[in-house]
Symmetry: C2
Amino acid sequence: MSDTRPIGVFDSGLGGLTVVREMIRLMPGEKIVYLGDTARVPYGGRSPDTIRLFAEQDAAFLMSLDIKMLIVACNTISSVGLDAVRRVALDTPVIDVVLPGAKAAVMRTAEKKIGVIGTRATIGANAYANAIQDVQPNVKVFGQACPLFVPIVEEGLADGDIARLTVQHYLYRLVNIGIDVLILGCTHYPLLMEAIQETVGTRIQLIDSALWTAKEAQDVLIALNALSPDVSGGLDKSIFHVTDLTPNFESTAAAFLGVKLPRVEKISLDALVRGVPAPA
Amino acid sequence: MSDTRPIGVFDSGLGGLTVVREMIRLMPGEKIVYLGDTARVPYGGRSPDTIRLFAEQDAAFLMSLDIKMLIVACNTISSVGLDAVRRVALDTPVIDVVLPGAKAAVMRTAEKKIGVIGTRATIGANAYANAIQDVQPNVKVFGQACPLFVPIVEEGLADGDIARLTVQHYLYRLVNIGIDVLILGCTHYPLLMEAIQETVGTRIQLIDSALWTAKEAQDVLIALNALSPDVSGGLDKSIFHVTDLTPNFESTAAAFLGVKLPRVEKISLDALVRGVPAPA
């Protein structure tokens, strides 16, 4: 039994495309329907109540498109609003980005000291610490919010001096504590991988949750016998929805996905807020 | 004839409080009703269509509160969405932040070369250049978008090395061109004044549009004979509405206003979107 329906993936903006990138690499036959709430991004500095409200609206939109799985490709929503998403998803399997990254980190730490970086909301919700301690209670977790990383990546400055100075500013404390694994708890951060690795040194392993999330999605689809019968061509049939066509949209999207988005549709924010499915 | 009604002031977020700060200094008897759309801030990277939609919703909310004047304390909205705001405001006088800053800059340039810095939307809309050339056609205007300035200010890092390096990154071109006046075309930027002045040198005069906007509001109220009869105590009777109580809200607001906000009310974003006045 296989399932030809698409996989729904959503994020506050375009960062979730790093998860899509890994999914396409692992499962090139799967069709994706993506939603990036580019009219209201970023979520990472907002209150838990507002994040939950927005997450519910985003999830409801994708649920209206007959998907076989819902992937929360956003660390902020995974950390703060997963309960709201599950309420909307009903029986559809939900994959978040926190648990796969947490499991991968636990397998790799020898010192039993894991660092986590993310938005203010992600770190404030303590979701990684809770997930890690569920897997392995004697591991210590140290969180650090890095609010400037997302705008630096979106400004295309991930490789410059400003990025390096900012990485030092946020990470010197975690390095001094002696962590040996660092979870990149935001889908934007893989683009800062080089600047981060340079600063923390090679003794600290970086965990990119995008890759582990895609693997988890594949494992669950195999277990449910719900992989697509197609073995390629999924990307060409995928649709990428955004709530705003922002000026630097195309270049930012290409940086995250690695290729140009094949098909983009702008949906009305009003339709999203009112819970009405947008026109196809 | 005097007018005891409040003055409406709005911004995408909290930066507009720098305008309120100057208003209180000039007209301490005036009551303010403020709206900061903190659930959807920042507007500066969004498309013109989305900025106009949000601006219309914000203005409609304040118009429902019986105000005597509407101040657009946001450079992005002033540059991109002023037509939408005027449509909603009907006969109520509207003051924006672009024209007062443009007039002040023209009076001060000897070289006839003015620099303008702002968000991507503000610079893209060319509003300052148009306003300046309306006043004085033979002045050259050079714009530079500085998307990292707002997050740096909101992160409380306006005084550090990251701020100085970022200021250099954005401003070296304008300094080399030989401008002698620089308009700070975003209400967040006064908090970067020191880092900017240090980088551009004292030969370049900085224009803080918040101050000139407050003066313009005062001039218009005098002309309309609509100043409040009170000469003090306005701030204590003012109300500050936000669409989200974000975690670092209080400290950010205090940094912009100079004092703690006396009375804050969270309004529902849904009510704003649906055009329904929020509960008092």
